[in-house]
Symmetry: C2
Subunit: 498 residues, 2 copies
């Protein structure tokens, strides 16, 4: 009885989430601008109803009842209770009026951040950033410390059970490998010619190619669609509706093609969750890092792999003959795998990307666990860029102000991006044992066994298993950066003939 | 205080309506099919919440309080109370369990209707149709008779204050004119060559032309967008978001072009409602018939007008040169204005369309006000087609089973289509006094003064004024079919040189 009431209640909350997601998708894919003001009132009304449900006494009582009879619950219900409890406490422990104050501050801080970035004026943003950090510290007080430190509480919200102890070790080792590779590449005179990347590639042809590649990867078009937006994203509306967007830049086809492959990795994760979780909050990715491991697996281990392009290069040439017709595959591969330290995270290449993340991680960790002050951020930021990447931002707009995450209070999120890379290399290492002919499959365009392996080890479980549980079951170990380090070492030594 | 609480309450209901409309639009424009099962659960949850709001004691009390202080209310609030009361009573007077039973019957009846149509088996559908009619009669008992007869109660739901007395007179006179014209045309040997209509016109070119025409008509793309769906429709999400869909048939361009113009008429109605009604249920068309008068005004009085094509024919030729390059404008105009009695309503031409509606109207009226029995429908239907259109369906699938309306209990709706034609001709007659150079404007592609006139007389009021109030203010009279009769008489006498 209580179980069914609880499940019905939880599903109803999911229905509100799904309605809000449809509206969100629509706003990002062409909703007319004059309708947006009222649309945001619609969002406000539905969100308020959802928040009432999420924090109701009724839900609290259902949780208490079920927690008292844990022994009688099946595994899915048990995990469901655990997940809902986590969100319930997260929402409920903050006094409603304080949360409201924080939401107002958030939206102000985001606006000020945008202005500060445009004007390259960190001082303008600083008081808001300080306030945001103070609130986060207060919230950590309400939530209670998880895994022994304030910053671990934040990490746990995006990556359950992740700690600074693990990250310090794994990131530290990885950094040594990457920094050394970057330095060797910088010193090498063997640079790729990248001019081929920036020639005109018509939008419609990019779209047609994207659709062909999606089909090849195993994207289910009956459970999704491809649209265009300013920033590519995947949105999981429900198990049978996981939509992708991409961005067609006619002067740089990489944003559409690699963006599509990346988002397809996210979408296939949610398309292949076990149907028994349908309609439950467990029917989603288990963490930000695991989600990112699926998108980055496809983007890097498939999409930047030479065998993938052995199969697809003729197709690419067909869609943009003037651009690629006279370029050898080997030169194309070197161009799309070019390494160059840069200041802007979202433009970084596969090798240097993790360094951008490590810098943000260290800063966040020290803000919450140590005595780093917000006012010192520009100086610390620039010093770390110089140390890890060998370049120094000339302005704060190109430095500490570049990302919007902190203006919204999203501390603890950045590590997910690098974790995605590390997990992806771990999946690849484990997959090699089961699929020794991985490269042949790519060369033949037979990508379904890869999706099936990932579905078997990761996708099907949704949020039923936590990151470390998945990792242990599939690889027999915990977080291990060596596989990524080895992969990068091998790949870039070969590509740059170091 | 009560006024503000009432307005907030009503706006919240509108937010739910809008969320449901976004979902509806999405389902009709490409939502992936595997997500639809769960999406319908989302719709169920939001609809149930909305229904609870629509029938709550709280709303009932707010209405009672405001109705007791009518003298103090401004005009907008007064009309708002009136509208909300009408819907409240409609929803509340039917016992909830009976309504639920009816909804279940509805969905069964629709499925059976589909089967019966496919199998040409009226007997299969008959028991469901009888039950649907019995429920409607029971509901009329709950609602109470409006304007003196049971069928008038149904009419009033779609067209406030409309009665059989008015319709019998106006439809009767109009029928005489149309039937006589149809007979003359049938007897004429002067038939247009319509082969030009059915040549290949690529989808993308149809879309580009549709967009150009929309811009010319005055459609605001910042408050709408054009998409594709199986059946064209317009959906008003809010004042700043009124979306159009059309259907691209590469073997018959008329469905896209005239469909787009038609839906644009609907959309411009809602785009030009006074902003002071934003967020209220008054910010929509005042009736189905008035709404249809806007779409049909543009489709027929603009889109089928020779002057419109004087301006646009070269453009059309440019988009499909092989099709239209060698065809004279005069021949094109005769082809798109071809008259031919046909069995299927939705394929009917401008002249015969109203006859299809009159047949349905007379049958509905006699079902509810007289002693016509559902079992006699096929026989009555066929006899009326023979009498009015001179052709007789050979099967019920092509006859009484062709429309889905009755399977859903939509009695009283059909007359709106013919009312739209009649109103449109009345607007045109009144407009001629203010815009004597109407034809010149069309010939020059200057269509904005036409939209402005319609906005001034109709659009701006939304549902603030009722149909007859709008009509009286703009034309100085009530419903009058003579203008439509005269227009058709003039136009088709000339086109067919009768």
């Amino acid at each position: 009885m209580a179980v069914q009431r609880f499940i019905d209640y939880v599903k109803k909350m999911e229905h509100y989430e799904e309605a809000l997601s449809v509206i969100y998708w629509d706003m990002r894919t062409g909703a007319p601008k004059k309708g947006l003001a009222q649309r945001s009132e619609v969002i406000g009304t539905l969100s308020a109803s959802l928040f009432d449900m999420q924090t109701s006494e009724e839900l609290g009582e259902l949780l208490t009842v079920l927690e008292a009879q844990k022994e009688e619950l099946d595994y899915v219900t048990l995990r469901l209770v655990e997940e809902v409890r986590k969100n319930y406490d997260n929402n409920k422990k903050i006094p409603a009026h304080e949360y409201k104050e924080f939401v107002i501050l958030q939206s102000k801080a985001e606006a000020v951040w945008e202005e500060a970035k445009a004007e390259n004026n960190f001082a303008l943003f600083l008081p808001y950033l300080e306030e945001i950090i103070a609130w986060q510290k207060k919230f950590i007080g309400y939530w209670g410390m998880k895994n022994g430190s304030p910053y671990n509480t934040l990490l746990d919200q995006y990556e359950p059970e992740m700690t600074t102890e693990i990250l310090d070790r794994v990131f530290g080792e990885l950094r040594t490998t990457i920094v050394s590779l970057v330095q060797k590449i910088a010193a090498s005179s063997n640079k790729p010619d990248t001019s081929v990347l920036f020639k005109h590639f018509p939008r419609e042809e990019q779209r047609a190619l994207s659709l062909e590649i999606l089909a090849q990867l195993g994207y289910d078009f009956d459970a999704g669609r491809l649209d265009e937006s300013v920033h590519p994203f995947m949105i999981g509306l429900n198990h049978g509706d996981n939509r992708i967007t991409t961005k067609y830049d006619e002067a740089d086809f990489r944003s559409a093609i690699f963006g599509t492959i990346h988002e397809c990795g996210h979408a296939m994760y949610e398309q292949n969750i076990d149907a028994k979780l349908d309609g439950l909050p467990l029917a989603q990715g288990t963490s930000m890092g695991i989600h990112e491991s699926q998108s980055l697996f496809y983007e890097n281990f498939v999409g930047r792999n030479e065998k993938f392009w052995e199969h697809n290069y003729e197709r690419l040439q067909k869609y943009s003959p003037a651009q690629f017709g006279e370029v050898a595959l080997a030169d194309f591969l070197r161009a799309i795998n070019m390494v160059e330290p840069s200041l802007i995270r979202i433009e970084a290449d596969e090798l240097t990307y993790a360094l951008h993340i490590m810098i943000r991680y260290e800063i966040e960790r020290d803000l919450f666990n140590g005595d780093l002050q917000a006012k010192d951020l520009p100086q610390i930021w620039n010093a770390k860029y110089e140390e890890y990447l060998g370049i120094r931002p000339e302005t704060d707009a190109q430095g500490v102000l570049q990302d919007m995450h902190w203006s919204g209070g999203m501390f603890g999120y950045f590590p997910s991006y690098a974790l995605g890379l590390i997990y992806a290399a771990q999946w690849k290492h484990a997959m090699d044992k089961d699929i020794p002919n991985f490269d042949d499959l790519l060369a033949n365009g037979e990508l379904l066994p890869i999706r099936e392996w990932l579905s078997d080890k990761v996708h099907q479980y949704g949020a039923l298993k936590k990151p470390f549980e998945l990792l242990q079951a599939a690889t027999g170990e915990g977080l291990n950066g060596h596989y990524l380090a080895n992969y990068l070492q091998d790949k870039y030594t070969k590509l740059y003939q170091l």
